[in-house]
């Protein structure tokens, strides 16, 4: 039903979606979102730090919240930590449901909360060195859609 993973190694989103969908035969649909490190804007690398006692439990709690809000047959969250390079997948959310609205909304909801609320600290390496990333205003606005 719920599958939440925090990985410190690269992963293959297509294989993960396929595996997730394989035993959700009763679902009419599977929605997903894959977020990657953009190769534009001069970012040479990205580092995501987490704090083990909070980060994975926080992701689990978010998954539980999505399962309460939407009528789902399964929810998958895969999130990277550690060092990432342009083009690397950072996050995958997939939701399976009988009706497509639930799956699509659950992915939307989960992504909004992961992007602004999850216990990650991010820094980017540019030509002039490492820079910590502050929360974006747009992310706060996104999360307020659900309140």
């Amino acid at each position: 039903m719920k599958d939440v993973r925090l990985l410190d190694m690269p992963f293959d989103p297509a294989a993960a979606i396929d595996h997730f969908a394989a035993d959700k035969g009763d679902a009419g649909g599977v929605a997903s979102f894959v977020g990657k490190v953009r190769p534009t804007g001069g970012v040479e690398a990205l580092e995501l730090s987490h704090y083990a006692p909070l980060t994975l439990p926080g992701m689990e709690a978010l998954a539980d919240e999505a399962l309460v809000r939407f009528d789902l047959m399964g929810l998958l969250i895969v999130h990277r930590s550690g060092l990432l390079y342009p083009g690397d997948p950072i996050v995958l959310v997939a939701a399976a449901s009988r009706h497509r609205r639930d799956a699509i909304s659950a992915v939307d909801f989960t992504m909004d909360h992961l992007k602004s609320d999850a216990w990650f600290w991010k820094r980017e390496k540019r030509s002039d060195g490492w820079h910590w990333i502050e929360p974006r205003e747009a992310d706060y606005a996104d999360i307020q859609r659900w309140q």
Binding site: G35, L48, S49, Y51, P53, L54, P57, H79, I90, V91, L114, K115, S116, D117, A118, W119, F120, W121, K122, R123, W132, I133, E134, P135, R136, D139
Partner: protein, 81 residues
Amino acid sequence: MVRLVFLGKLADLAGAGAMDINGTETLKWESLLAMLAPDLAQTLQGDKVRVALNGEVLPDKTALVAAPGSEVAFFPPVSGG
């Protein structure tokens, strides 16, 4: 011993992601700050820095009571996933 953990840019300021304070005392907020470099101590007092004790975020960090063997984590606003 109490372990201090610094997340995000606080690790840069502290000069390390974690440090141990040796001893058998229970540390309160003010006594803990007094053991740190003044600029770090000042930053940790800022509104945006939150504190967790043994993985539980404190509603009021100044009420911290860290017994020996506990872990105190300091974090700036999350940048999200």
